[in-house]
Symmetry: C2
Subunit: 411 residues, 2 copies
Amino acid sequence: MNKRNCFIGQSGGPTAAINASLAGVIYECIDCGEYENVYGMVNGIKGLIEGKFLDLKELFTDERNIRKLRQSPAMYLGSCRYKLPTHEEDPQTYETLFNYFEEHNITDFFYIGGNDSMDTVAKLSAYASIIQSPIRFVGVPKTIDNDLKGTDHTPGFGSAAKYVATSMLEIAYDSAIYKLNSVTIVEIMGRNAGWLTAAAALARNENNDAPDLIYLPEVPFSKEKFLADIKKVFETKRSVIIAVSEGLKDEKGQYLDADSEFQQKDAFGHVIHSGTGKVLENLVQQAFRCKVRSIELNVLQRCAMHIASAVDNDESFAIGREAVKAAMDGKTGVMMAFVRESDEPYTIGFEAKDVSEIANVEQKIPVEWINEDHNDVTEELYTYLRPLIQGEVDLEYENGIPAYMNVDHLK
Amino acid sequence: MNKRNCFIGQSGGPTAAINASLAGVIYECIDCGEYENVYGMVNGIKGLIEGKFLDLKELFTDERNIRKLRQSPAMYLGSCRYKLPTHEEDPQTYETLFNYFEEHNITDFFYIGGNDSMDTVAKLSAYASIIQSPIRFVGVPKTIDNDLKGTDHTPGFGSAAKYVATSMLEIAYDSAIYKLNSVTIVEIMGRNAGWLTAAAALARNENNDAPDLIYLPEVPFSKEKFLADIKKVFETKRSVIIAVSEGLKDEKGQYLDADSEFQQKDAFGHVIHSGTGKVLENLVQQAFRCKVRSIELNVLQRCAMHIASAVDNDESFAIGREAVKAAMDGKTGVMMAFVRESDEPYTIGFEAKDVSEIANVEQKIPVEWINEDHNDVTEELYTYLRPLIQGEVDLEYENGIPAYMNVDHLK
């Protein structure tokens, strides 16, 4: 009698933990015994509009597959970059979707993603309210950028932060071996919010003081100050290690890698966006004439499951389960959020927040958490970040590489 | 009476396993009970000429420190890039060094490194023979490039290969999520030998067929063929993943990233060496007008201890111990080598080889191990590579990041 049916989707950029949240949703749907069908949209809401979905219940009734899914990076269900139009702009798409929902007796809709995905949840739940549909729409946050409002932090961020901190530590060891002056610039993702770049500070311990300098997109970047900062570090150290956000902007608000002074062209005259790290590498090279290297951590910071945070993986799984409980409690138009109860010991609770107040807002680092010199983070930011990278995931390996889920359905 | 004293040094580029070899040498020196003093040169032979060395025996009598050293990346003793002149060219340097040896009653000299380091061992042992010094000079190989002659493979290569294979797997998952055509080019270290690039093939398993194409520096690279290869993969797949060596050369033997057609200049007219991946990214972008990304694995492939191969770590430790045994057996002017006894089960033995026949020779991939199309590896190369990445190192973590040795003595 009481049988429920749901659609689950993933959207936006991948993380090492978004499949843990998917596993949490599926696990709870199966475990609670209330769901007859658990469907997964392939390539998010865009795929669903085209009628693409999978039956997830059978495959994941085997708990070994739940575990394997929790330990697989990127997105099992695939993704889309798609801004759902409003129902006033495009009533046809809403009719198509809600016809699908009716056809499959859908009671609940779970969507795991970042800002744009929460916008989708907000629009669908608002429309459901207008047409008096009883379907519950629940968002589950994820983003390595940690820039969602209303939640203490986002699933996926802790694993990316652990990758960044560990890589930064290893790069510092790598840079220490020669007896010569060198500058190493590590470019980290985060176009507008500097959370992930700030996580580089977690590489510091009693044996390592790198990164020596940290530059975040929340405060304006000055090239003159940057070179002066490096000069100062050189007074006491040979190897200078710097963490920079890809999204650094100058005093005029212009991205560094859009700066015409450093803009590069190939032989055909095409502009090459070389990236903030490369721009700064050239700047430092010209100023100091020493060994300079820039390293772009690139997509590995969002997909390196092999160095995922156990806290992040556990929480991402748990918040997926909580989303199902919220739907069964009758909640709709909400995003599940983490509420920090305590830093030490670190404890977290869950809450369902009004998604319309969260979608399309970027949560940046408070300037009080950036030092006065604008080249480092404060102790408060450390305290906030440290619990999120704790613990290692006990990954299964086969033939020397991690054993991840098959995703042939995305081909 | 029988007391021995030794110098140990490290040289060349870092790896995730060179400290395991250092730990093996130190462990055996202490364990055998024959050594009164175990000294470590700081910054290799160059540091020793300047009189810089450490007493290692006290610190590493504690086996917990041996374990921690085995699990620390880069080079505990620091490195140098220094080509020792011949004794004819510079008798003074040899006199300085051999005076040090006499002063400290040195019986054995262990040097862990690549080609240049083996050249140092060859020169010092040849000089010792001329002046009838009884000191034994033993080389221990290391390089992520796997390009040393006389040994089945080199310590450090397996860990780099495991990092490359795992990263390639994770990049493939990351690239699979969108429903659009894309090309991802991963640039891997190895200027003249393609072993590490070939290791990308180890990412393939029943769930993953990437990389789709592999380009090695041992065979000439043709841009036309490259674009035709990609076009062919696009016939059956949306996401094309390509592994390329940084050292690709065209039919005329010119490095791709030195190609004037693609050479980039900044606004000051300085040439920017953008790297092979970037050159190919631009080429593919212009040919296919699809999403193209190039990823440079950069220094992480040589220092990512957190995804080291247990086989590599164990063997690197063992070959360090074997070097001490060889010295005690009276061997000098030798490099310790791995001899493969069997692929399956994989077993390895050790042998001391004449270092003068090894130094300054580059061991490349045999062309028979590259497919006819020059865009992939053969089954023989798989079989050779697979055992080297097996097993994971049970790393200690503190506060969410790996616990590595203090290297303040390198500051």
